[in-house]
């Protein structure tokens, strides 16, 4: 298949100050999102496959371990056994926070 879908751009005005987007995602990780949250998610999720997070299914649809693709081709994978989840939502929250921190330099879910 042609690689037609380029990484979406992050619209202006979405930056580390928009903690409302984290709060919205935390309230409802799936389903309808505000336009700004959808744009942020599309940007986060649309990154290159190299180095990308995914979930390794380690229990029958009941346990997921964080994993990453290698930084170079040919692709390999590495599981991160210190990050095991028993809910998909928790895994989504973890990766969202980590990507946010990589983009904006701070953990949006850190205790104030």
């Amino acid at each position: 298949m042609s690689d037609f879908l380029k990484r979406p751009r992050l619209p202006a005005g979405i930056d580390g100050s928009r903690l409302d987007l984290w709060e919205e995602f935390h309230r409802q990780p799936f389903g309808k999102h505000s336009p700004d949250l959808q744009a942020l998610l599309d940007y986060m999720r649309g990154g290159p496959i190299t180095g990308k997070y995914f979930l390794k299914l380690t229990g029958p649809h009941s346990e997921w371990t964080l994993a990453r693709f290698s930084d170079t081709f040919p692709l390999n994978t590495e599981t991160l056994p210190e990050h095991v989840f028993t809910s998909i939502e928790d895994a989504e929250f973890f990766v969202f926070r980590r990507r946010w921190e990589e983009m904006f330099g701070a953990d949006p879910g850190a205790e104030a």
Partner: protein, 744 residues
């Protein structure tokens, strides 16, 4: 060093009747032995929640259940044409090798064009590409000489290439000329010399076009140094042609350009076969290996037709890929003869080595004359089209379009560890062109009762529901219907579709529609059904062909490929062929999204007395606002009714879904591109419709238009309105009392 255990396998067919044999081919690494068991599959592994049935498989006692010694069986991907040539190429008067080439991946390194060169025993001679330059490979018995020219060919351009070689003097001359119409190319030539004496013989094995030859340590001959791109009209002369003659060789049509060819292969003959014809009169015919793509435009394709049957002379090219694989060609490990007393259902060979596990599912059909009234039609054509869906693993946008983190398990990741098992018709070859043939005759990582709840794994939710409710039912496959037509369905009053019967051959469409026309009943309990037209390989089971000329974003577009090679039929969606799924199912695919599923809201029409049996005992206005697949019965991929697309005028739209997420909009506008931009809040566009209609012959169709429907059946231990509606429909559909058309 310990090798991580892996075991993989496949069967020679997906459907078998009692008393018939089915062969299994297994390859493994790691421990000294692996275990084989045969199981009947009752319920898939879907999780531990309240909505989830327990995983259930029944181990069966058969002679093949045993420990087997570990044995690695390699796969040799890469397509070519193989020509039997036991005496090698005659060299006494020198030799000329020529072809028109359209290379698509020069970075792939050494790539064979035509000849007998074999790296295993350093024999033979071949015209090759060496890092993009024309070159000659000459085997000397104990070493190989590569004579490289100063001529580099250009990627994605047609070039006529030739080499002459005089063993006596060691003189090698290369020639090249661009063939692109409307372009003026410089003709290039290069004269080189082979410094040391060459062998007098040029190989005793087969000649290959689009590859070189090799032999593995089991003695199995296979393709090597595979070409990526198209080759047209390869020729061999048992003498060195002069420059004027070589200039005439690029002509692709008509009789042999220069007389006395040793061989002259015209790929425009037998496009719908695996045969390759030598038109020199010397009978050096060949056959394709690993199904390279035929029915593709050649150097003379003029843009006037996309149908290879109308402009056959313009389709004299074959597109070869170094990752084509139509059959792993493993030795049979064990053969199961299905006992006469096994009931029809879904079965599998379960392979285990340490913590590695692999399933090879198959269907046991009912013995002839002992059919039930109900049959579950497993969508093996769709399983084939999606077999080894690599994009779910390696494409960067998978997470984006699914709106969730990608979840993979060890079996999915076999596609990274063993890339030679190949991809699906959603994947690209290494040169970026789209896979058009997909085979079940190789290990398939996404045909199993575990892992992602999709396709076969999800279809077992229908099996578990039918088992739980105590229905007698049989199972057949798409390919059974394709091969046998209506006869495969005639014993049955009710056909239940699988959850995602996306790919349909003409034979399948005709048979299922005719079944209803003659009084049969269709329960379409899925979504995105009867969407793409596919072709089945005319003689070999388990191989499907898909081309998508009407979906350029899903298809690395080549506008010459408008028709299937297997059948010659127009390729693409059934709508593109003038036969939208709405004309049969009442609904047709509209969009998809995998982040969240929704529910149906009943319409006024659900109170129509024609539909009373469907909602008997169901008072809820919302149907399916629960389920193990993202929380609802309406989702994943959804279909709607559309009068303009052929939904029968008397069809009742009983319920419609609503409230789908943003992702459903994204899929319509960005991936499938079948509609103008849509607003997900617009209920007129983004919805699944539940539809019922009667057929003139006393039959009927009930459609839910949603893949996720079956994920809601098991909610509250099968006591819910999705199961109730399904049960009501099935019970009435089992009643032989004919349905009456509303006008009667």
């Amino acid at each position: 060093m310990n090798v991580k255990a892996a075991v993989m396998g496949y069967a020679d067919r997906q459907s078998v009747r009692p008393g018939e044999p089915i062969e299994f081919k297994v390859s493994s690494v790691g421990p000294q032995t692996y275990r084989v068991d045969i199981v009947r599959l009752i319920a898939p592994e879907v999780g531990l929640g309240d909505d989830c049935p327990d995983f259930k498989e029944i181990e069966l006692d058969t002679p093949v259940c045993s420990d087997y010694p570990t044995e690695w069986q390699p796969i040799h991907p890469g397509s070519a044409v193989r020509v039997p040539l036991s005496d090698g190429l005659p060299l006494r008067k020198g030799i000329t090798l020529s072809a028109n080439v359209f290379p698509t991946l020069l970075s792939a390194g050494r790539q064979g064009i035509v000849g007998t060169y074999c790296a295993t025993d350093d024999s033979g001679v071949s015209l090759i590409l060496e890092d993009g330059a024309l070159a000659l490979a000459v085997g000397r018995g104990d070493s190989t000489a590569i004579v490289t020219s100063s001529i580099s060919v250009i990627e994605h351009r047609w070039t006529a290439v030739a080499v002459t070689y005089e063993p006596g003097t060691g003189t090698v001359e290369f020639h090249a000329a661009g063939l692109e119409r409307q372009r003026l190319e410089v003709e290039l030539s290069s004269r080189e010399r082979l410094e040391e004496a060459a062998p007098g013989s040029t190989g005793s094995g087969n000649l290959y076009i689009g590859a070189a030859r090799a032999v593995d340590d089991r003695g199995v001959e296979h393709t090597d140094a595979c070409f990526n791109g198209r080759i047209e009209r390869p020729r061999v002369y048992a003498r060195t042609l002069d420059r004027e003659d070589i200039g005439a060789l690029s002509a692709v049509a008509g009789p042999t350009a220069v007389e006395d060819a040793f061989a002259d292969w015209d790929f425009s003959i037998g496009i719908d076969t695996e045969s390759v014809t030598d038109v020199s009169g010397n009978g050096r015919h060949g056959e394709t290996v690993n199904l390279p793509s035929r029915a593709v435009g050649g150097s003379n394709w003029a843009g006037q037709t996309d149908n290879w049957q109308q402009g056959t002379e313009q389709y004299g090219a074959i597109h070869f890929h170094d990752d084509d694989v139509d059959d792993a060609r493993w030795c049979t490990t064990f053969t199961l003869v299905v006992p006469d007393d096994w009931r029809s259902g879904c079965y599998a060979a379960r392979l285990r080595a340490d913590d590695a596990e692999f399933y090879v599912p198959f269907v046991v059909r009912a013995a002839s004359g002992k059919e039930s009234d109900v049959v579950l039609l497993l969508s093996t054509a769709t399983y084939g089209a999606y077999a080894n869906l690599r994009l779910r693993v390696v494409f960067p946008w998978n997470e984006l379009i699914h709106g969730r983190l990608t979840v993979l398990d060890d079996t999915d990741l076999l596609m990274l560890r063993f890339p030679e098992i190949g991809g699906s018709t959603y994947d690209s070859h290494t040169d970026g062109s789209t896979v058009v043939y997909s085979s079940m005759r190789r290990p398939v990582t996404n045909f199993r009762p575990k892992g992602r709840i999709y396709k076969f794994c999800q279809d077992l939710l229908l099996v578990s529901w039918l088992e739980e409710d105590g229905y007698d039912f049989d199972v057949i496959t798409d390919e059974d219907v394709h091969r046998e037509g209506l006869a495969a369905l005639e014993p049955y009053r009710v056909v239940i579709s699988s959850s995602h019967p996306e790919y349909t051959s003409t034979e399948m469409f005709d048979a299922t529609e005719e079944h209803v026309r003659q009084g049969g009943r269709m329960m379409y309990l899925g979504g995105n059904g009867w969407y793409w037209r596919i072709g089945y390989h005319p003689t070999r089971s388990g191989i499907v062909e898909v081309r998508r000329p009407d979906a350029p974003r899903l298809w690395a577009a080549d506008v010459s490929q408008g028709h299937l090679s297997f059948s010659g039929e127009r390729a693409g969606t059934w709508s593109w062929a003038g036969r939208p799924p709405q004309t049969f199912l009442g609904v047709g695919f509209i969009t998809q999204g995998f982040d969240e599923c929704s529910y149906y809201r009943r319409t006024v029409a659900s109170n129509d007395e024609r539909a009373a049996f469907i909602f008997q005992g169901v008072d809820d206005e919302l149907i399916g606002d629960f389920g193990l697949l993202m929380g609802g019965a309406a989702g994943y991929e959804i279909d709607r009714a559309d009068a303009l697309m052929g939904t029968p005028r008397h069809a009742l739209v009983l319920a419609s879904s609503e409230g789908h997420s943003n992702l459903y909009d994204l899929m319509v506008t960005s991936l499938v591109d079948s509609l103008p931009p849509t607003n997900p809040d617009d209920p007129d566009r983004i919805r699944a419709d539940m539809v019922f209609y009667e057929s003139p012959g006393g039959g009927a169709v009930f459609s839910v238009g949603s893949i996720a429907w079956s994920g809601s059946l098991s909610h509250a231990r099968y006591d819910n309105n999705v199961a109730a509606v399904s049960r009501n429909v099935l019970n009435r559909f089992l009643d032989p009392q004919p349905f009456r058309m509303p006008s009667e």
